[in-house]
Amino acid sequence: MLDLLWLVPALPLAGALALLAGALRFGKRTTTAIGVGSAGLTLAAVAAILVQYAGMHGETVARHVFNWISAGDVTVDFALRLDPLSAVMLSFVTLVGFVIHVYSIGYMHTEGDRAYARFFAYLNLFMFAMLTLVLGANLVVMFIGWEGVGLCSYLLIGFYFDKEYCAAAGIKAFVVNRIGDFGFLLAIFWAFKVFGTVDFAGMATALAADPGRYAAAVTPIALLLFVGAIGKSAQLPLYVWLPDAMAGPTPVSALIHAATMVTAGVYMVVRCNFIYRLSPTAMLVVAAVGGVTAIFAATIGLAQNDIKKVLAYSTVSQLGYMFLAAGAGAFAGGIFHVFTHAFFKACLFLGAGSVIHACSGEQDMRRMGGLAKKIPVTYWTFMVATLALCGIPPFAGFFSKDEILGRVFAAGAGNLNGFGASYLVLWALGLAAAFLTAFYMFRAVYMTFHGEFRGTPEQWHHVHESPGTMTWPLKILAAGSALVGLLGVGTAITFGTDLNWFESFLHRVAPTVEVEHAPALATEWVLILLSVAVALAGILLARRFYSGAEAFAAPQRMAERAPAVYAAVANKYYVDEAYDRAVVRPLGKLARFSWKGIDTIAIDGTLNASAFFTEIAGDLLRFLQTGNVRNYALFVLCGALAAAAWLLL
């Protein structure tokens, strides 16, 4: 079965190609059979592979599909790699992916046949790209998947092409991601130059053999890779695209912008942990960006009223946690959070989709309320996932978040790489973010499901529970949110008995960086209780503010008392505006300058001879692309002059 590893990405690709080959002319039934069927087959194949792999004690299995680039000193194989890390990723990507495919049958059924087929074609294509990313045995194959998921994300965000802002959001996502890819690409080149290979195994071997030789290159490569991760995983300062990406259909938000694609950055950092662990600076940068993003996005989440936007900022914040973990050396802990987060965040998004579906497309929580009675399945699953996200035991998020905070604290207390104080600060930020997370999530729960309905009576009349194809995925994911945490129970919780299956499974490829003086068991217990207490405090505060008779009064007062702070938070700290000022408009001006100023204006005497120097300057610009041959000739003359001067002087 392991020889059929190539089937895993190939199956969804085949599905996508079949849908495209049908030129999108299939009816809904055929489309469903192909689109969901291929995802199901992929899941089955992965299950079979993982069952076999379970007995192999975490060996690394590499399969060369074909020799891909081979020219001179450049050789890159299209090779797939199955190891504990990619196995974990495979398991939840295919499972969550399949569940979301099923969910989409119900969610997208109102679309026309062609849009429906297009949607599933893109979704299958995404699965192909994501699985390629996960299974890639070298940086280039990973980059192919990396670009592929970006492209699919772009296509799916802009899915509703009749809505102008969707298309704009798609472009924004793509262009911002390119900035990240720029770093990734440079890292690939640099790694190639330094190691002579971009194969993960090859690079790891080279580094293990002679770490001193590569000491100078490790930090820049790690940082450049991290630039890529920042873009893909929506960290400061490149997070701006993710909230806008919520313009896409909700299953897309759940699959791509919560469970899988956005975690690719974390996966990449962990995949390259053999590079990161050699560079304390890069580790600290990763942790700092993650920690600051976690708290920053959480504060923005406090003031969002669009249910999907709340979840989007929550995703950004949780991704920050994952990087915080990786930066503190808890690579397995970071991946564990990726794993649990996939379940509860997908569940939350699908639940939000169900809510939106029930409210006839309404996304503003201010016009919801009291929905728990009418859509109980959605409510209860949403509740489970929320508790998991807030880190309430025994739900999944508790174990993973606790692991992260514990490890960061340990890194601080044990003075990891001499940056102990910094890690302690980051731990405090993480703890604060946990409080905020609990607060804004329960704010959303209260605003959506409790109290009185605040929409129109007509809307209320229409509210109905979603069909089975949508509720069953919710139930499955809710069950996952409740249970998967048990795979990685921290040693402190079991009083020192090592039941942390997850970490020992990953130990072979992503061992945790141990600090010299691990905190005492008692300290760990204090930390655990502290984080639970903080989460409970957040929940209670939200309850006080957003439920009962006094609902909304307190936050209203707060907004009145500190309007500037509230406005800043509600407007996402004006980051989009700042980008617009600092980047978009100057670029536009530059473009206009090179077009109008440099390229367009003909010499038509419009110039008034107000000042001699303006005239000369204007003329020089006009010479450039005036449509006038003589000016072009002058250009050539200037060029010749410059060339001759260059070589002679």
Binding site: I69, G158, I179, F182
Partner: protein, 483 residues
């Protein structure tokens, strides 16, 4: 003499067949588009076969015609590429000439003569041969640019191209004369020997500078790119496609042969000149393309930018650099011809196909062709799994390995910028609906469509399985050098 003729056989054959096509065109009047087009394609195919046979029958290291002509792997690669380009352009032109009602005879013959000139440039190891090949190519292209004589823009393109082309080749020639004066030879191998043995004087440096100007003009690099947008916009679209790949690739062949080969001892002097030109070209081309609404013009600026990328490979030098340029030329050729093919499909009633807005909603009306265009745009933007990504990867890897990290930083940044304008077209096709009473539709042009299909498949195949193509590009860097 016999060996000489065998080595020259492909050029002789193509020139002869071009004359045959010319005469057939004169004899048959204007109506025989199919016949003449088929004849031209067959002639190019036959030349390809001849090339293959001639390559088998000659020693790649041997020199012919008093040491002026070689048929090494480098030359064979480029000649095959030129023949492919010419054949695709002939196919693209078929429907276009017919639709616009222009005589095919002279047109096809001129395309073939230009190809003869390009092939001569690729094989020449003597500056005299390279120069006459260059002029043959250039003069044919001037006429082709102005072939649509009822169009003002076509005339304008010819006039501008001619004036600036003549000026640049004059400058080039003056540089050549100074190099000849300083070294006493026009033979590239001797040139390299002479330059390596004695410290070259300033007159040789001035000569190299002026020569570089001429070459940079031919590849449309900043600041010698000024002619490109106007000429590309005005010329008949298949000819624009031709100019953007064929003569450009030929210019790169000559650039590599002369600069990496004959002028290698002076590399320290010219490498920075070319490097800075490459950086400026990438920046200028991409930034200026951002705001273009006319698609042909946008593609013109895009092709300027791509010349900049290829120059990065030239600066990198060495076998890896040269390979990467060769491979990039192949990638760029299939991609760009495909993209222009799509423009031709849309160019039906004078206005359509010109502005980006004409592309609105095309994916819905013409899913297959639009998908091809999507591939071409992604390939030009360098997104995997298309050929363009492989080309750039290989090119930039060569430059990083050669130590030109700053140049690669510029290149990668600029290719990120370039996505913005490539995606504008994709966005229009896929995400917008055509507004206005009469949305643009594609004209029926079976051969153009077939070319688009072929190019689309090539873009994917090269992107997914680049190994054999890289190997072909690499073959030349084995035992045989550039001289």
């Amino acid at each position: 003499m016999r060996a000489d003729l065998i080595a020259l056989l492909p050029e002789l054959m193509l020139a002869t067949l071009a004359m045959a096509v010319l005469l057939a065109g004169l004899a048959s009047g204007k109506a025989r588009h199919g016949l003449l087009g088929a004849g031209a394609v067959l002639a190019l195919a036959a030349t390809g076969v001849t090339l293959w046979l001639a390559a088998g029958a000659t020693d790649p290291g041997a020199h012919f015609f008093s040491g002026m002509f070689v048929l090494d792997h480098f030359a064979i690669f480029f000649k095959a590429l030129f023949l492919l380009t010419a054949a695709l352009v002939v196919l693209l032109s078929h429907d276009y000439l017919k639709r616009n009602d222009y005589r095919p005879g002279e047109y096809l013959a001129l395309v073939m003569f230009a190809t003869v000139g390009m092939m001569t440039m690729a094989s020449g190891v003597n500056l005299a041969v390279i120069y006459v090949g260059l002029e043959l190519m250039a003069l044919s292209t001037y006429i082709l640019a102005g072939y649509f004589r009822r169009e003002v823009k076509s005339h304008e393109a010819a006039a501008k191209y001619f004036v600036l082309g003549a000026m640049s080749s004059g400058i080039l020639l003056y540089g050549l004369s100074l190099i000849y004066g300083a070294t006493g030879t026009l033979d590239l191998a001797t040139l390299a020997r002479v330059l390596a043995s004695a410290k070259p004087g300033p007159s040789a440096l001035v000569g190299v500078a002026l020569l570089a100007c001429g070459f940079l003009f031919k590849v449309a690099a900043v600041p010698f790119h000024v002619w490109t947008p106007d000429v590309y916009e005005g010329a008949p679209t298949p000819i624009t496609a031709f100019m953007s790949v064929g003569p450009k690739a030929a210019a790169f062949a000559m650039f590599l042969r002369v600069f990496i080969g004959g002028l290698a001892p002076l590399a320290a002097s010219w490498i920075w000149l070319v490097g800075v030109a490459a950086a400026l070209t990438m920046i200028w081309g991409n930034v200026a393309a951002l705001t273009q609404d006319n698609v042909k013009r946008m593609l013109a600026y895009s092709s300027i930018a791509h010349a900049g990328y290829a120059l990065v490979g030239l600066v990198a030098g060495g076998p890896a650099g040269v390979n990467s340029v060769l491979f990039y030329m192949l990638v760029y050729t299939v991609t760009n011809i495909g993209a222009f093919g799509f423009v031709i499909l849309l160019e039906s009633r004078g206005y359509a196909g010109e502005t980006v807005a004409d592309y609105a909603g095309l994916a819905r009306r013409h899913p297959a062709a639009a998908f091809g265009m999507l591939l071409f745009m992604l390939s030009l933007g360098g997104i995997p799994p298309t050929a363009g990504f492989m080309g750039k990867l290989y090119l930039f890897a060569a430059a990083v390995n050669a130590g030109y990290v700053w140049l690669v930083v510029v290149a990668v940044l600029m290719s990120a910028v370039s996505l913005y304008y490539y995606l504008r077209i994709v966005l229009q096709m896929y995400l917008r609906e055509g507004d206005g009473a009469e949305p643009a539709t594609l004209v029926a042009a079976p051969w153009t469509e077939r070319v688009i299909w072929a190019c689309g498949v090539a873009v994917l195949v090269i992107g997914l399985l680049p190994a054999p193509f890289l190997a072909a590009a690499r073959a030349m860097a084995g035992a045989v050098g550039l001289l």
